[in-house]
Amino acid sequence: EAGVVQSPRYKIIEKKQPVAFWCNPISGHNTLYWYRQNLGQGPELLIRYENEEAVDDSQLPKDRFSAERLKGVDSTLKIQPAELGDSAVYLCASSLLRGDGYTFGSGTRLTVV
């Protein structure tokens, strides 16, 4: 089993530029999550998908962040435009629908300069 695959691993961009992250969850996992982890903090949920539906996006800054999971499998998270404060590790996780175990990807470390 390949696990949750995220790309890229690292990204450095200038502020005001757009950036996108990609996630491929574990096969068969209906639920997909995007978390943001700031330095020295625990991960914070940005958005949760059940299949292709975003069921919890209350913590997603919708003025600049967007996400999609069109076919209910892989997902992209986009920031446009990026700000200095967006520098963080963006984690993707997946689980079975209302399942107990989350599997996390390795994350994308974003640095905005």
């Binding site: 020295g40 625990g42 949920l45 949760r48 059940e50 069921v55 919890d56 107990d100 996390f104």
Partner: protein, 115 residues
């Protein structure tokens, strides 16, 4: 809303010392509780979890945690740490009543084990 508090941000121990990391949660209903570990340069991995039944749960690598419902606590323990246990440890809670499938993490405890 659910929340998690981890009391120790940084812990330094010598090899073979005993470990206890504190975790308290806030939630008014039934919960699932988790401890995750993040080794340097690696992704988050599940150490152990509590759903129901025996409040003392055992995980991988000799770790265990005890759920004390009256104290809203889920402390992580290990009798004798090793240098390879150096990592960051996160406690997490999932509320089961109206909380959906949302996992909320604490701020983490950075553990350093010295030889």
């Amino acid at each position: 809303a659910q929340s998690v508090s981890q009391h120790n941000h940084h812990v330094i121990l010598s090899e073979a010392a005993s470990l206890e990391l504190g975790c308290n949660y806030s939630y008014g209903g039934t919960v699932n509780l988790f401890w995750y570990v993040q080794y340097p340069g690696q992704h988050l991995q599940l150490l152990l979890k509590y759903f129901s039944g025996d409040p003392l749960v055992k995980g991988i690598k000799g770790f265990e945690a005890e759920f004390i419902k009256s104290k809203f606590s889920f402390n992580l323990r290990k009798p004798s740490v090793q240098w390879s246990d150096t990592a960051e440890y996160f406690c997490a809670v999932k509320g089961l009543t109206g909380g959906g499938n949302k996992l909320t993490f604490g701020t983490g405890t950075q553990l350093k084990v010295e030889l």
